[in-house]
């Protein structure tokens, strides 16, 4: 699942090297519209619904936090 999430990030913003970042949002790799696009991709890919209250920057800081969000939202590892 980590690789799939990384592929989505690369699709969204291919210009960044995500392995260089400790916080995708703080480092400017993802803005609020990228997060919305990513939510849409994640919901489609894993057939989940992400709660609106969970769409906050800290849940999109790293592949690990995104994975945790997906699992919390009902995605299967």
């Amino acid at each position: 699942m980590n690789e799939e999430i990384m592929a989505m990030l690369k699709e969204l913003r291919p210009e960044f090297d995500y392995s260089d970042s400790e916080d995708f949002v703080m480092d400017g790799f993802l803005d609020s519209f990228d997060i919305i696009s990513l939510v849409s991709l994640l919901e489609e890919k894993y057939n989940i619904k992400i709660d609106g209250l969970d769409i906050v920057p800290e849940n999109f800081a790293s592949v690990e936090t995104i994975l945790s969000l997906v699992l919390r939202s009902g995605g299967n590892k």
């Binding site: 969204l12 913003r13 400017g28 803005d31 609020s32 519209f33 990228d34 997060i35 919305i36 696009s37 939510v39 849409s40 619904k49 709660d51 609106g52 209250l53 769409i55 906050v56 920057p57």
Partner: protein
């Protein structure tokens, strides 16, 4: 703040759109972002087309065009009008006020109350509250105008704000009728007001050549201090937190259930935000229109009446509809109204060349 009103009805609704249409596909190259990345927002946010007023057109132009149409079509007589209430973020001038300008342009008599209210997204709810309170003390009708030309106040190089904005005006006739109770709830939190701002142009920061300069915001968007800006994340989180809580509470204290409502007419910020609200609240999508942004853009305070007019003209004319209205935005403010809307005398959506 919870209030209850009784025996007030909307009896006619008119929507007035500028005829100029801007297409998202054509505007993609105005932004500094890669087109592929921007186009992804078309589906998610519901961006497709929006209505844009001419640079020279103001809210009073649209309102007078619409009210004259209503007068000439026999929807209302000049002598029936006891008050004109205008809710807008886009005054023609600081002085005189739009309601007074419309009164003059439409030859409405001097025995008329004219009130302008500065409010954005919750403008229809605030306008209804003012209208209901006026009607407690008069037998005539209130002309409620909700209009904005916010496209004049948004940078065309700002992808955060420009694609979602649309210009529109609505006019609703409100009068004393029947005896039904109306539930009204409104909340405000001024401490979060900076989430949606137009920094320059008032007395605190008058417009100058400096405030008109487009500057790189560091996130790929270019805007000036004269322009409107919405902190998307802040507003999104505010809506997801406050609106479900408010509506759950309102349903509980009124003893109503989701199934009791025929229509949910909500403010229309963007499709994504509305879909998340629908999921959170378990609302029926078939009774929750969320197509305004893709057809016209978000017209601020006119969004609720325009959503109703555009989607439910037949129902509004032919039957009584139990409606849940809800709006949220600038202020920050959020509110809801439970009321019956239906068996209207007239409902129409028209275009002007303004």
């Amino acid at each position: 703040m919870i209030m209850k009103f009784r025996g007030k009805r909307i009896t006619s609704m008119l929507g007035i759109l500028p005829e100029t249409v801007g297409f998202f596909d054509d505007e993609v190259n105005n932004y500094s972002f890669p087109p592929k990345q921007t186009m992804r927002l078309k589906k998610v946010m519901g961006y497709d087309r929006h209505r844009l007023a001419k640079d020279s057109s103001t809210v009073s132009d649209f309102a007078a065009f619409g009210l004259n149409y209503m007068l000439e079509s026999g929807w209302i007589g000049r002598d029936d009008i006891g008050a004109i209430v205008t809710v807008t973020l886009c005054p023609d001038f600081f002085v005189p006020h739009i309601s007074n300008i419309v009164q003059s342009k439409c030859n409405i008599g001097h025995d008329t109350i004219c009130i302008d209210i500065a409010q954005g997204c919750c403008g229809f709810l605030l306008g209804l509250m003012q209208s209901f309170m006026l009607l407690e003390h008069m037998d005539k009708k209130v002309v409620l105008i909700n209009g904005d030309v916010l496209s004049h106040k948004v940078s065309k190089k700002d992808r955060n704000d420009f694609p979602l904005i649309g210009d529109a005006t609505t006019i609703s006739i409100i009068e004393n009728k029947g005896n039904e109770e109306i539930f009204y709830e409104m909340h405000n939190d001024g401490s979060r007001g900076n989430a949606l701002t137009i920094p320059a142009g008032g007395f605190r920061m008058p417009s100058t050549s400096i405030t008109a300069e487009l500057t790189d915001q560091g996130d790929g968007n270019f805007r000036a201090l004269d322009h409107m800006h919405m902190d998307g994340s802040e507003v999104f989180n505010f809506v997801q937190k406050e609106v479900p809580h408010m509506l759950s509470h309102a349903l509980k204290i009124t003893g109503k259930k989701v199934d009791d409502f025929d229509w949910f007419f909500f403010h229309q910020p963007n499709k994504f935000m509305l879909q998340k609200l629908v999921e959170k609240l378990g609302l029926p999508v078939e009774r929750f229109p969320m197509n305004l942004v893709e057809n016209f853009g978000n017209p601020s305070g006119a969004s609720i009446p325009l959503t109703a007019i555009f989607n439910c003209q037949e129902d509004l004319l032919n039957k009584d509809n139990k409606c849940c209205l809800s709006a949220f935005g600038s202020g920050l403010a959020w509110g809801t109204i439970f009321m019956t809307i239906g068996r209207l005398s007239h409902v129409e959506l028209i275009e002007s060349n303004l």
